[in-house]
Subunit: 765 residues, 2 copies
């Protein structure tokens, strides 16, 4: 045993001795390379073992060809021993402890944004190092991913955005037939697009899934020779051999060529060697004889490598197991006990046919459906800046990452890029020290602890989860705003039939439910035809439904000047969308008039009923007892001020006064007050909002031809809890009291009337 | 590069040379052990690195004391260099490829059965080796786990059960104060309880979670010296130091002692060294002066090790990171970048207070909520027996593991144990070659593919998910049988109030929803008071609700002679349970009379209504229009044969005849025909069952005082799909046709009447 502090040489000697001993110890009496070779055949016998190509040696000639761990039939051996070369098994490369790893991904559009999140989840699941993600995005993806990462708050992850639109001119001259389009080519320009001081980066396609720690991949940089600048895995198909079909003329490549789904780039060396000129020259020359790239950047990378083979460091095949249609990948993974990265590089993606595809799908689905909240895990063993005076704050509840003094390890607003930042929504607003303190001060023994914590929980938000076209700007346009969870999904089709205008809907879902929702929309003719409905997924966390946080997310994402604040169980009159726009115009709300237009609410107790096509028909149903004014039996106070009697006769909008517990459905300008997020679960969530409107002196104007009808549904779990739990009711009362205190603070004496109203005798809340 | 087939000596030399080279390559110019020591401090610097105690060396004296990776303050160094000893970093132990790993777990009762599943999920997630689980269980756990593993069908996992009750006498003489009770002591008797040819086993507590590949732990066996028989991690608290409080007198231990949550046992050597006598002698002697064990088996293991210290091989602390109340574990994991196994060894379990507990909880919740279906992944890289002529069958849909010829790698019925096997339920019945063929023959292009696949899907089933007391045997007792998913959970309390007897309910849930359900029951006063309600979780898989498979699971688990086959949206008359038992007795059903007692069904359209306390009250509500006969408006055929007009007047049970589409709610003997699992989603699922009853010549007897009332709810997604999709309706028709063909096959000419009835003109299905 060596005492501490001995000179370096002695330490080195001791280490070597130890390695020798361990060598004997681990492979006692079984050191013949026949066995080791059998297990390592192709280099993948040991998880993370290096392939032959990564053991230090002199290449036999100047044309190193791909020698991943997959040795393919008919592939002539490149050196004595061929693909059965017996280098034995070197130990696993040592992941650099706590080193910041750099990753670049090109991502554009709604669908790729979903893909990249699954990729990132798989990466975060296994990583033990801090990460810096460099995201080259269009405006759509940036908007989505900025909000997502802001609200996700994974420790030790930094995000930088780069504007893909600015990079387009550099690649748009290249004709490309690949489905990835222009964005597929952008990997070529990363050396100039990424910050000049960034020396190394792992570049990933959005359709890869990690099954291991990315640090092991990063560690392969250490094996680059002085000349090597690009690490790649051999292409696992015969595409570049050019014999797939008659007249198939692929771009030039070394042997089977390389796949660019996973790339290790030495950016520093690429810049030094004049990469930009190099690839442009090669592409230009090849395009003299070839009409276009078929596989985007990959064709150009391969053409360059064919010309300058010393640039490439072949990587073990397990780092890019390619599930293309007629993949030869099985030769790789059937030998390896450890898959590292799976690449869904068939245009069919998960639907690709493959003997083992069910197993690969299960790996992919693991991360697709993985609860991303659980990745809010601290890294153990890496230094962490002490949180500023918030030692008691719990990791997963933080409104924003701690450690502002060392931003490198945390979320970091964009370094570059010209996209406008996403409009701040309350649940993704910057962290306030007050909020941090509030979290730290929560008392777990408090009977209302759940309510208070739920209110402070920052939910992960994925805005525009599905493709969405923003409505064209129109001065009187109005967006229907609502929120729902899984149990109301069957309302969406009917809602779409009743409201032909734009909608902004917040969905409270788990990651797995979000996928069910996706399939639901894809299989619905009605829903998949609509591009003006924006679905914003707010990921579930905590026991109470954060109804007002959901409303605020949907409200913040509405893009028209006006919003109709509705609830998911209501179907609007078929004419409502047109009528509201006409009313907004007629009432001149655009000229700064502060008004809330009340849409009277009714209800039916029957699942099947024929929806009235006019006010006259509605009144007839009302008189027949088939319809009722909303919650007439249970809670008339909520809508009584709408004055249904007057509405029956009204020909023009009329003013009504606020009264206690009034909670009408209203149309307001988009910049209206937000909902109070303290109201979670059942009770008082809309009431408080209408109080706020009144306090800010919004006129309340009832529209004579507008109506919505509530459809029946079973009582929610929250209302059941409210009814059965005295604590629940007490907590709601406590929240109401605090709300009124805050009102007084903000509006002074003017808020007195709300408190007075509250103290009057009342029915059930 | 060595050519193949050289002699062993040369191979060995080459390997060593390679290790030397790699050594230089990985740590270029930085081989001073000061750095290595800093990173490895405590041995945990590199994931999977060996602690000093695992490097081959001669212990300084005959009393090796725990030297895990955690070096604790105030712990005198046991050798020169102390806990900062500088052995540098040996490489990661090499997991044995494809070796069958043996794991033993003691598990008793409903709650531990849930725990052990989470442990197994974490283990399966990371494993790459075939596993053999040796489960020492009581009858309850065996019943649960046998069904679970049978229906889970994870490839390359073998399960053996051992009867804990038989082992009790061997440990019941030891007074024990630990919360684990008698079962906590059973780890002591594993060397004799496990098969005599089993040489090595990893023993796990049910409250550990894996965060790494168990093969790495198994590999540590290779480092046992000839004398060592037990591998253990040091205890990460000061308990055994005896200074926690005044008069704290722990059992004897070496220093801080060892924790037995994770044990490596050399069973072969233990048997040779007379383990049984050894531990009994030690326990007996210590119990002369100590009143009882405080920490169950752990006290006895430590006392033995104190006496025979050469028996123990200390393991790196990361293999048992102990989250007890005042744990010192942080000293371990703050140094290690890689946690391997987390041990929730506080009685508070997840509620333990700890600076980093949120992060640990997230790791735990990952597996708690992990979709276990995704673990039906094949092992790549390990030889797999070819499936018998079913190459196209997809892994995750298999009714039963393939490869019957090599049972070692697959599910294997119990090796030992006296528990009776669980009653076979249709979804966990043994695999039929027909079913395998049916799966292989499914055509993905078939419009009804989803229906057919759903029908053949074997769902993972966790019976008696919550503690449950079987009802005492009574000859006329009746169990209410129903099924539900998450959206009907709020029905459970009302149902419990209406039905005071036993219930068997199948719940169709995801793993995450099962946890929500657990919390729901725990926080409900009504539900948590009932021990006679058995909840059976059937895990979700596929797009269609497998309604009849669920009914069959609930039916198979009913333990009374009679069952009331109901649906979750119905509330029974308060008196129904008593009335049914009296009717069964009165009608002498016990004497082999084949009868189905019809319980007439009604419905209300109002959420709040006062439930009639008698038939007279019900009839009054019916006359007042507040109640209707069930589905009177939409589908009167379903219940018309019950003859409500006659029921109004009836004083005694009366016979009715089967008619097309009749689907009454009935009371039948438990051994009644099962539901036809081909009917998934909406439609005809009960109808087919009643046809089957009629075909088997059950009398249909309507009970004059019995009734149930259906409460309103929103239409299910399945009924919405049925209404909107012609394909859905066509597929249902195809299923009905096939059902009738099967009927004809089984009942011959007698089945003609069903076909004839089907061909008559009809309303909507």
């Amino acid at each position: 045993m060596l005492p501490r502090g001995r000179p370096r040489a002695l330490g080195a000697a001791a280490l070597l001795l130890l390695l020798l001993l361990i060598g004997f110890f681990l492979f006692p009496g079984d050191l013949d390379c026949e066995r080791s070779e059998r297990e390592a055949s192709g280099g993948g016998g040991d998880p993370g073992s290096l392939p032959r190509s990564l053991t230090p040696r002199v290449p036999p000639d100047e044309r190193p060809r791909p020698r991943g761990t997959a040795a393919f039939d008919g592939d002539p051996p490149a050196e004595p021993g061929g693909h059965n070369g017996s280098d034995c098994i070197p130990p696993r490369p040592r992941p650099p402890k706590c080193e910041l790893l750099q990753v670049a991904i090109v991502c554009a559009g709604h669908n790729s944004s979903r893909d990249v999140i699954t990729l990132v989840k798989s990466m975060l699941f296994y990583r033990k190092n801090p990460l810096h993600l460099h995201l080259v995005t269009d405006a759509v993806a940036r908007n989505i991913l900025e909000t997502l990462f802001h609200t996700w708050m994974v420790p030790a992850v930094r995000i930088s955005f780069y504007n893909a639109d600015e990079l387009k001119p550099q690649v748009s001259w290249i004709p490309n037939k690949h489905y990835s389009g222009l964005y597929g080519l952008m990997k070529l320009v990363l050396p100039s697009a990424l910050p000049p001081d960034l020396a190394r980066v792992i570049v990933l396609d959005t359709d890869v899934t990690f099954a291991s720690n990315i640090a092991e991949l990063w560690a392969l940089f250490a094996h680059f020779s002085d000349k090597q600048v690009i690490g790649l895995v051999e292409n696992q198909s015969d595409w570049y051999l050019g014999n797939l079909w008659r007249n198939h003329r692929p771009w030039p490549a070394l042997g089977r060529g390389f796949n660019t789904g996973v790339i290790l780039l030495r950016l520093d060396r690429l810049r030094q060697t004049g990469w930009e000129q190099m690839w442009k020259l090669t592409a230009t020359r090849e395009l003299l004889t070839l009409p276009a790239t078929s596989l985007a950047d990959q064709d150009i990378f391969n053409a360059i490598i064919k010309e300058h083979p010393w640039l490439v460091q072949p990587l073990p095949c397990v780092w890019n197991v390619q599930l293309s249609d007629h993949t030869l990948a099985e030769r790789c993974y059937s030998e390896a006990s450890d898959l590292k990265v799976i690449h869904w590089n068939s245009p069919k993606k998960l639907r690709v046919k493959n003997k083992h595809v069910e197993s690969f799908r299960n790996l992919y689905l693991t991360f697709l459906e993985y609860d991303g909240n659980l990745l809010r895990r601290e890294l153990f063993g890496c230094p962490r800046p002490p949180p500023p005076g918030a030692e008691q704050v719990r990791g997963s509840r933080l409104p924003f990452p701690r450690g502002g003094s060392t931003p490198l390890l945390w979320w970091d607003p964009a370094l570059s890029g010209a996209c406008p930042p996403a409009p701040p929504s309350p649940s993704s607003s910057p962290p306030s020290p007050q909020l941090q303190r509030a979290l730290a001060q929560l008392d777990e023994e408090d009977a209302c602890f759940e309510f208070r914590r739920q209110r402070l929980t920052v939910h992960r938000v994925h805005i525009t989860f599905l493709p969405h076209k923003p409505p064209p700007p129109q001065p009187h346009d109005v967006t229907l705003v609502a929120q729902l969870s899984m149990d109301r999904m069957q309302m969406l089709e009917a809602l779409c039939r009743h409201w032909p205008g734009p909608m902004s809907l917040a969905l409270y879902l788990t990651d797995a439910e979000a996928q069910q929702f996706l399939r639901f929309v894809e299989t619905s003719v009605v829903l998949s035809a609509r591009q003006d409905v924006a679905y914003h997924v707010v990921y579930r966390e905590g026991p109470l439904y954060p109804i007002n946080q959901l409303r605020n997310v949907a409200l913040a994402q509405a893009l028209t000047p006006y919003v109709f604040l509705s609830d998911i169980d209501f179907l609007p009159a078929y004419s409502l969308y047109d009528y509201l726009r006409a009313s907004i115009k007629q009432l001149e709300l655009g000229s700064g008039r502060k008004a809330a237009l009340v849409v009277p609410a009714f209800e039916t107790l029957h699942y099947r009923f024929s929806f009235p096509s006019s006010k006259a028909e509605l009144l007839a149903l009302l008189d027949a007892g088939s319809l009722h004014t909303f919650r007439y039996h249970e809670w008339p106070r909520g809508h009584a001020p709408t004055d249904y009697a007057r509405w029956r006769e009204a020909q023009a909008p009329y003013h009504v006064q606020w009264a206690a517990d009034y909670e009408p459905y209203v149309v307001v300008p988009r910049d209206c007050p937000r909902y109070d997020p303290r109201f979670v679960g059942f009770g008082w969530n809309k009431v408080a909002h209408v109080v706020e409107l009144d306090a800010q002196e919004y006129e309340l104007l009832v529209l004579p031809e507008a109506f919505v009808i509530h459809l029946p549904h079973a009582p929610s779990l929250d209302i059941s809890r409210f009814r059965s739990s005295p604590t629940y009711r007490d907590c709601l009362q406590a929240l109401k009291d605090e709300f009124h205190q805050d009102l007084s603070r903000r509006y002074g004496a003017a808020a007195l009337k709300y408190l007075t109203a509250l103290q009057q005798p009342r029915g059930p809340t």
